[in-house]
């Protein structure tokens, strides 16, 4: 309850800030112009005093100067307000499971707009420039960078068919039939001519990526359907751009010739392929740049964001498809950047992208709500209802018809259930609205009519379709997304399966998709990786890279979960004590591979190594005297080594990996000579990065029954011995 009051208070504060009689306008969008005017008018910075006035005023201890922070204050306040609302909405327990978040945000926007209007101010409208240049790119980049490339490429043909032919069909069907309806006299719509109708059709025909993402992400549908609908929403941008510009140009003139249509088709090819090319070029540049950021890890995420945004803007300069450029850029740079950047940069990139796309999405939906209240409306029952009806019908017919053709070429056919979800998931969103908003009133006197219809359509798809899709998915028992743990086994088997399928395809003489994928991978490994990935990672086979990432991730996770254990010099004796006691407790279950114990061991072993790394790194930043640092390190390591040795002895005795040991016995590999790695080796090697363990030698001791081992850890890059542990364990 208190939260709502707080939100209302913020709204009032916002209104007050809006209502200041400064030279700015009422909207955030042209507030920048306002400050511009202020600058030109008075040519005085806020910090200068008026020296012309010589009379001495009392020095103001506390003064109030709102104007010079006005714009920034408003924008920040809006965003803060939006997210407080979002938090507030989650407090209502059952609401978020029934209603998708996008609907709730639109409702919030409506309320805010109403409040603003009641107070007497003019609510700000979603400015198209702001939308296309600031709000849309983060969402698309987030989608493109994390695009599951494999399913996307496998279904590319299907996606393209839906995106291109489906959108064209929608546009012409809706536009054409709407024109027919407008001709009917009783509707009082005679002013709408054919081209205007077709333009309207092209605006409402495109499936919107923002809306699709917002709804589909919550229902966790299976990967194939998600990539079909989402891929379509991304790739239809080229079609929309060309159709919109073509029809907008010629709607003023009044007719379109066959030559124009031909030029339109050519333009489509240029727009889409050009967009992809621009994106790919920037992606390669970003990957290449990331190769050299070894010593400057902090700015790595910046390159990812900047290159992608530049790709988008460059594409927009030439009227190419910005969305496709952004997707191409993100998808191209992803594998190489991931191989080059540090783990922390990877996390930063991921969370910044998620954060920005979340901000954008929230703002878009709220602004949609506010714009509904604000915008001038022209309501015409016929027009609006016919639009919605035609859009639905067109979508269903389009999907069914195209699937019929597509299934002839697909190995895995699309079932009726799949078709239904694809058709039902074709949501419209803010892009349609922004395109409508861009129309100039002089050329299009029926602009308000269009805007009203678009908004109603968006509301209908987001509310009705968005809300009902979840129960429908449950009802139809559509396959859900498999939670992928992605273990090392899966990776091995997936790779084997890939090679197997390629091989069998070659035996059959089938030079299809497996062959080309294999060829592309091989080319990539031979040439591209050498250029774009730094250091020795460029030659690493994928399996090893995967294993390394997995090991590091697991270790870091465990490190984080037991984070308060980070000591300054080796594991504290406390932890060892508790561990020992725990070990003695579990005497009965010694032979069992207890995950918990495995994790504890991992953590401690990992900590020692990480400490080593950290210290080396931090020392080398400041002192650059490697010999000295190594000395210090050796001393510390010896200390740690002693403590570790006790612990390791216990661990080895506990048979952490009875599996491995017996396996080796069975295979007859166990030899009682020096330098044959034994069980502890297996235990450790499972938990460390593969290249860190150099050697474990068995040192024969004749005096006792004990087996003595020497473990040597080496830095992978220069083979310098980091530390040596000597430990014993009695069998």
């Amino acid at each position: 309850m208190c939260r709502w009051q707080w939100d209302v208070g913020l709204v009032i504060l916002l209104l007050m800030s809006n209502a200041r009689p400064a030279c700015g306008g009422g909207t955030a969008a042209d507030a920048l112009n306002g400050t511009q005017r202020q600058w030109n008018g008075t040519e005085r910075t806020p910090f200068q005093h008026d020296h012309a006035n010589n009379s001495k005023k009392t020095f103001p201890v506390l003064s109030f100067n709102y104007d010079h922070v006005r714009t920034h204050f408003q924008i920040s306040l809006w965003i803060l307000l939006a997210f407080l609302m979002k938090l507030g909405l989650q407090l209502i327990p059952r609401l978020s499971s029934i209603v998708p978040e996008s609907c709730l945000l639109i409702v919030v926007g409506l309320l805010v707009g109403l409040v603003i209007q009641v107070v007497g101010e003019e609510p700000p409208v979603l400015d198209s420039e702001f939308f296309f240049l600031c709000l849309l790119p983060p969402i698309i980049l987030d989608a493109g960078y994390f695009l599951p490339l494999r399913p996307f490429m496998e279904n590319l043909g299907t996606i393209l068919m839906f995106a291109v032919l489906g959108t064209l069909w929608n546009a012409f069907f809706v536009g054409g039939l709407l024109y027919g309806v407008c001709q009917v006299d009783s509707a009082h719509l005679a002013g709408v001519d054919l081209l205007a109708c077709l333009l309207f059709g092209s605006m409402v025909s495109a499936v919107d990526p923002v809306a699709v993402l917002a709804v589909f992400e919550e229902i966790h549908i299976n990967e194939l359907l998600f990539i079909l609908v989402f891929g379509e929403s991304l790739l239809n941008d080229a079609v929309t751009v060309v159709l919109y510009h073509l029809l907008e140009e010629y709607a003023g003139v009044g007719s379109v010739s066959a030559q124009d249509v031909g030029l339109g088709v050519l333009s489509f090819l240029v727009v889409s392929l050009g967009g992809v090319l621009v994106g790919a070029i920037f992606g390669v540049m970003a990957a290449f740049t990331s190769r050299f950021t070894l010593h400057n890890r902090v700015i790595e995420p910046l390159f990812v964001f900047l290159y992608s945004y530049m790709a988008y803007l460059s594409a927009e300069v030439f009227h190419l498809s910005g969305i496709m450029a952004l997707i191409a850029c993100g998808a191209t740079m992803h594998p190489y950047v991931e191989a080059n950047v540090s783990h922390k940069s990877h996390t930063t990139i991921k969370y910044f992208l998620k954060m920005w796309s979340s901000v954008s999405e929230t703002l878009i939906f709220i602004f949609l709500g506010v714009s509904t209240v604000a915008g001038p409306h022209l309501w015409n029952w016929t027009f609006v209802t016919v639009t919605i009806l035609l859009c639905l019908v067109a979508r269903v017919l389009g999907v069914v018809g195209l699937t019929f053709i597509i299934n002839k070429f697909r190995v895995i056919k699309l079932t009726t259930k799949d078709q239904f979800i694809v058709a039902y998931g074709g949501l419209r969103g803010a892009i349609a609205f922004s395109l409508g908003f861009l129309l100039k009133k002089e050329h299009f006197p029926m602009r308000n009519l269009f805007l009203t219809a678009i908004i109603t359509l968006i509301f209908f798809t987001v509310f009705v379709q968005g809300m009902t899709i979840r129960p429908l998915v449950d009802l139809l028992a559509v396959k859900r997304k498999q939670g992928s743990k992605h273990s090392i086994n899966e990776e091995i088997h997936t790779q084997v399966l890939d090679h197997l399928l390629t091989g069998v395809a070659h035996v059959c003489g089938q030079y299809g998709h497996h062959h080309w994928r294999d060829k592309l991978t091989r080319l990539d490994k031979q040439y591209v990786k050498k250029w774009l990935i730094a250091g020795e990672r460029s030659e690493e086979p994928q399996l090893i890279a995967f294993y390394r990432t997995l090991a590091v991730n697991q270790a870091l996770e465990l490190l984080e979960s037991g984070g308060d254990m980070l000591p300054s010099a080796g594991p504290s004796t406390n932890s060892l004590e508790t561990l020992k006691s725990k070990i003695q407790e579990n005497d009965q279950s010694l032979a069992r591979i207890s995950k918990q114990r495995k994790e504890e061991i991992r953590r401690i072993l990992r900590m020692t190594l990480q400490n080593t790394e950290q210290k080396l790194h931090s020392y080398s930043q400041h002192t650059q005297d490697e010999a000295w640092t190594l000395q210090i390190l050796h001393r510390k390591q010896a200390e740690m080594g002693r403590k570790i040795s006790i612990f390791l002895a216990d661990a080895a005795k506990l048979q952490v990996s009875p599996v491995q040991r017996r396996a080796r016995l069975a295979s007859g590999e166990l030899r009682e000579t020096a330098s044959s790695p034994l069980t502890v080796d297996q235990c450790i090697s499972t938990f460390f990065e593969p290249r860190h363990i150099f050697n474990i030698e068995k040192i024969p001791l004749r005096t006792t029954n004990q087996k003595c081992y020497k473990m040597t850890l080496c830095k992978p890059s220069n083979d310098k011995i980091v530390s040596q542990f000597i430990y014993t364990h009695s069998v």
């Binding site: 194939l224 190995v411 895995i412 056919k413 079932t415 498999q482 939670g483 992928s484 273990s487 090392i488 086994n489 899966e490 091995i492 088997h493 790779q495 084997v496 399966l497 090679h499 197997l500 399928l501 390629t502 091989g503 069998v504 395809a505 070659h506 035996v507 059959c508 003489g509 089938q510 030079y511 299809g512 998709h513 062959h515 091989r522 490994k525 030659e539 690493e540 086979p541 399996l543 090893i544 294993y547 010694l590 032979a591 069992r592 591979i593 990996s657 009875p658 599996v659 491995q660 040991r661 396996a663 080796r664 016995l665 069975a666 295979s667 297996q682 090697s685 499972t686 593969p690 290249r691």
Partner: protein, 216 residues
């Protein structure tokens, strides 16, 4: 002679179609491909696979070729390998790569899935003792890594061992102190694949097969 033979072949195709699940059109294409590989002969041998140049680049080339001559894949109860196969066996091995027919019942789909998994299992289990041992697994991983220039045997061993450890912890929940893990049995193997939909992945398109002229 020609007409009689084509009629005879047609009947044969129908019979094979019902047994393996291919359509007669696909069988015709595959037969043409078979003839191309065997240079119009009747039996396919291992050296015939050398004709396929792209197969040389495949890291698991030998395993794939062996799979064709493995009696366990012929859906009988045979064991061991043969040195040459006829068209029928070729077709049976190829049938493992058919896409799953959506019109099948759940039972049939499950049995189809089991057969595909069994084919994969046989590929790993080269000594035919019913389980995949550490050696065999290690061999597979080595083969996968061998594509790159720096052959790192240690790493292959580590990865294979880590993978085995994972399977053991996944499959065998409770192990007595005296038990030891001999290898991955078929049941455990199936468990690994539980998350992956093999029906969606393991299929090859059987149309537009390249059957260029035999005289090269």
């Amino acid at each position: 002679m020609g007409a009689f033979q084509s009629v005879h072949q047609e009947d044969n195709y129908e019979d094979l179609a019902t047994r393996t699940g291919f359509s007669p059109e696909q069988i015709r294409n595959l037969h043409r491909r078979f003839k191309h590989l065997t240079k119009n002969g009747d039996k396919l041998r291992r050296d015939h696979f050398r004709v396929i140049s792209d197969l040389e680049l495949n890291p698991i080339q030998s395993q794939i070729i062996e799979a064709f001559f493995d009696k366990r894949n012929f859906q009988g109860n045979g064991r061991g390998t043969v040195s040459e196969i006829g068209f029928e066996e070729f077709l049976i091995v190829m049938s493992y790569f058919l896409p799953t027919d959506p019109n099948l019942t759940a039972e049939e789909r499950e049995s189809f899935r089991q057969r595909k998994l069994h084919f994969l299992f046989n590929m790993y289990d080269t000594d035919d003792d019913g389980k995949i041992t550490v050696q065999e697994y290690r061999h597979v991983v080595q083969v996968l890594i061998s594509q790159s220039d720096n052959l790192d045997q240690e790493e292959a061993k580590e990865i294979a061992d880590a993978a085995m450890l994972e399977v053991a912890s996944l499959a065998v929940v409770h192990m007595a102190p005296d038990e030891f893990y001999e290898g991955i049995t078929f049941e455990h193997f199936v468990k690994i694949w539980k998350g992956i939909e093999i029906e969606m992945k393991m299929h090859v398109r059987f149309s537009h097969l390249e059957t260029t002229s035999i005289c090269k």
